[in-house]
């Protein structure tokens, strides 16, 4: 009796809530930490980036128009979905990063906890980063943090899930839409997270997950004028410099060197703008 042959999964992109293969039809081989073949993963092209940014732009308006409470619920729902598939994720983290099963499970656990942490921020960040400004005159003046808009993320190359969660959940919590390129060599946990997000009531297109070559996708994201912010965690110093220079043309906000262990507000502050409103006070 022959052993049952398993059904292998095709790892695809997540763009606008749909799972296309790259429009280019290209894929690249992903190996595990020991160099064994894991899967052929879609290799996103310039046009995939374009489509993802369009989807993100549309989704951002809808995502930001939800109440902060609602956004928090959605991110919490994502944490639930991840918890439910924690074993599968841990298995892929272990393969991608070459860590022991126990360490991989712990990493997934921390990732879930970070999602919960950000879920709780959605309806608090305005109180912490905003407030009333006591101007010297008959004006009611208040500042609120508003999202930068569409944030491009080049995810950390080493930490396949944890850093990815931090990088996408923080801008989502503040109302941005995200186009994230997963770690080039370790993309599969991020792809799985994308799949889970598609069943978590997240507005389709608010999170787009691309896989492919950082060297190819990076410049397209950085020079795209409709990308408002850029997290360059996955680019080395020289490359990050080049990308920042490209982003200069549209004055995108650039986050570099965010400490993966950072538990402060730096990530939450990175892609928000302060909007200040003055209104006269009089009878």
């Amino acid at each position: 009796m022959s052993e049952r042959l398993d059904v292998r999964k095709t790892y695809k992109l997540l763009v606008g809530g749909a799972f296309p293969r790259s429009e280019s039809g290209r894929s690249y081989e992903v190996l595990d930490a020991k160099g064994r073949f894991l899967a052929n993963v879609a290799q996103a092209s310039r046009k995939d980036v374009r489509d993802a940014v369009v989807a993100a732009r549309t989704a951002q308006r809808a995502w930001w128009s939800l109440t902060p409470y609602n956004r928090g619920q959605v991110l919490y729902r994502l944490a639930e979905m991840v918890e439910a598939r924690a074993r599968e994720l841990a298995d892929q983290v272990a393969r991608a990063e070459g860590v022991r099963a126990g360490e991989a499970r712990a990493s997934v656990g921390r990732s879930i906890d970070r999602l919960v942490w950000y879920a709780g921020w959605c309806d608090k960040v305005a109180q912490v980063l905003g407030g009333q400004n006591p101007v010297a005159g008959p004006y009611f003046n208040f500042s609120v943090p508003v999202p930068s808009g569409v944030v491009g993320v080049l995810a950390d190359q080493a930490s396949s899930l944890e850093a990815f969660v931090d990088a996408v959940a923080a801008p989502l919590a503040t109302g941005n839409a995200v186009v994230a390129l997963a770690s080039e060599a370790r993309p599969i946990p991020a792809v799985l997270l994308g799949e889970m997000s598609a069943t978590s009531d997240l507005v389709p297109g608010a999170l787009n997950v691309l896989t492919g070559r950082t060297g190819e996708v990076g410049p397209v994201l950085a020079s795209h004028e409709d990308v408002d912010g850029l997290d360059l965690a996955g680019a080395d110093d020289d490359f990050a410099g080049e990308l920042a220079a490209l982003a200069a043309e549209s004055v995108s906000r650039v986050l570099r060197g965010a400490d993966p262990q950072d538990r402060g507000l730096k990530r939450l502050r990175a892609f928000v703008e302060t909007s200040t409103v003055w209104h006269t006070i009089g009878q």
């Binding site: 912490v128 005159g137 410099g241 004055v251 302060t274 909007s275 200040t276 409103v277 209104h279």
Partner: protein, 485 residues
């Protein structure tokens, strides 16, 4: 019995009421301020700064070159390492309070000097620029010993040496906006005032001496764009720039591969949105404040008037009447509303863009006011029949030129207001609070003024989104630009 002589006045044609230029205590030449002392440029280079209202020279000013930039940055680094980083917040606070007081004490001198060098009306330099500059130092003085409580986590650290490049439209005020939060947070500074308006910053340097601020904590380098470029390239921990979007992008590219922190306050094309239920008389004042304040040399100017079609005719009738009343002339006259354009180059740019306005088919209305024979002047101008595609609706004119567009619904107003690559400021005029807040939520702008325009306060964050730059100046938010958080 009821006969009486005819009224003695047909109109109050105000006689000249000039402030005395001597109050500025001008000197023939000014040096660079490095390490607490005034020095000549290393290569002895100087340039002339002129009065834009007369085209006559005011003084000669040192032109800082690369060697001077290096010396100033070194002085700032030394002061940071040896003195300023060891100075307690409470002490820094006291220095800033001293500076604020000294600005108040010398306010009249500073106001006259500012109007001479910049061309802005004395009423504005006296009532806005100088008092607000002092207020900024007062405000941030109070933060210097409270940084632990500013919401950036415990024990936030300064960045180090900050290079600060400021524009010519509010020379002293921009210096205060840059220096006060930087010093409060514990940084040392190298400040470069604009080429055409170097003088008030140099008087501020004297004030810093009088305040006994430790040598090298603030250094001031006068010069042209090459000085600014050399400063950006120096070994700095932070660059803060206020100016054009074009130059802002150059700086962004130059710093792209470096760890230097950066904040940018760039251009704008602010929309001033007027709904049909707005308080009309105040609207007219708000439009005038929005575009003719400081000759329109304001990055957050309300240069696009978006008026609801149903009241457009009424608003324009009132606006035209009001524009005719604007008194254009001698900046030192206390009754002047609109002063001189800051430079020949800026005047040329305004002329070019307004010529485009006519070429592209907009209807031009220019105040019939008489203009002085010499100096750089541009009469207040309003373009109607402007389309979104016209250059005058898209590009920053940075002059007393208003483009008027109309809209029919709130949705359309927001869409048109946001249809720009900039995002600095907008105005909303309505007596309906819910609509105002609905619009304010949807405007992509760092500042929204409701039933007012061009209001500034040290407690209120100011800055843009998108191509208007990033980072905030003013308020608690303004500290973030100078702290390692």
């Amino acid at each position: 019995m009821d006969e009486r002589p005819a009224s003695t006045l047909s109109a109050l044609e105000y006689d000249p009421a000039p402030e005395s230029a001597a109050l500025a205590r001008l000197r023939e030449s000014y040096g660079l301020f490095i390490g607490g002392a005034f020095v000549e440029a290393h290569d002895g280079a100087t340039f002339e700064t002129i009065n834009p209202a007369t085209e006559e020279p005011l003084a000669r000013v040192a032109q800082a070159g690369e060697a001077d930039v290096a010396a100033a940055v070194a002085a700032a680094r030394r002061a940071y390492d040896k003195v300023w980083r060891k100075t307690t917040g409470a002490q820094r606070s006291k220095y800033l309070f001293r500076i604020a007081r000294l600005i108040q004490e010398r306010s009249r001198e500073l106001a006259v000097l500012e109007s001479l060098d910049n061309g802005k009306p004395i009423r504005e330099s006296r009532d806005l620029d100088v008092p607000l500059a002092a207020a900024h130092f007062f405000y941030y003085a109070g933060w210097a010993d409270k940084l632990d409580h500013a919401g950036f986590g415990p024990d936030p650290r300064p960045l180090g040496v900050a290079g600060q490049i400021i524009p010519w439209n509010f020379p002293l005020l921009m210096a205060a906006w840059k220096l006060a939060p930087a010093l409060a947070a514990g940084n040392t500074c190298v400040l470069k005032p604009a080429e055409t308006t170097p003088l008030s910053a140099l008087v501020l340097a004297e004030i810093l001496q009088q305040a006994e601020l430790p040598d090298g904590v603030v250094n001031i380098l006068t010069g042209d764009g090459s000085t600014g470029a050399a400063l950006v390239d120096a070994a700095l921990d932070k660059v803060a720039f206020t100016g054009s979007t074009e130059v802002g992008k150059v700086i962004l590219r130059r710093l792209a591969g470096r760890p230097t922190r950066l904040t940018l306050e760039l251009g704008g094309k602010g929309a001033n949105i007027v709904f049909d239920d707005a308080p009309l008389d105040e609207v007219v004042e708000g439009i005038v404040d929005g575009i003719f304040f400081n000759q329109g040399h304001v990055c957050c100017a309300g240069s696009r008037l978006l008026v609801q079609e149903s009241i457009a005719e009424e608003v324009l009738h009132r606006l035209r009447r009001r524009v005719d009343q604007l008194r254009v002339g001698d900046p030192l006259d206390k009754n002047t509303d609109v002063g001189a354009i800051n430079s020949a180059a800026q005047l040329e740019k305004i002329r070019e863009l307004t010529a485009w306005g006519e070429r592209e088919g907009a209807t031009r209305y220019t105040s019939p006011c008489a203009l002085p024979e010499r100096g750089y002047w541009f009469a207040p101008t309003v373009f109607t029949d402007v389309a979104q595609t016209h250059r005058i609706a898209r590009e920053e004119v940075f002059g007393p030129v208003l483009s008027v567009l109309t809209f029919r619904t709130p949705e359309e107003a927001v869409a048109k207001a946001n249809n720009t690559t900039y995002g600095l400021a907008c105005g909303v005029w309505s007596e309906k609070g819910s609509r105002t807040l609905w619009v304010a939520q949807r405007l992509r702008a760092g500042v929204v003024w409701a039933n007012t325009y061009n209001r500034f306060d040290p407690a209120s964050p100011f800055g843009g989104v998108r191509e208007s730059g990033f980072g905030r100046e003013g308020g608690r938010h303004g500290l973030e630009a100078y702290l390692d958080v």
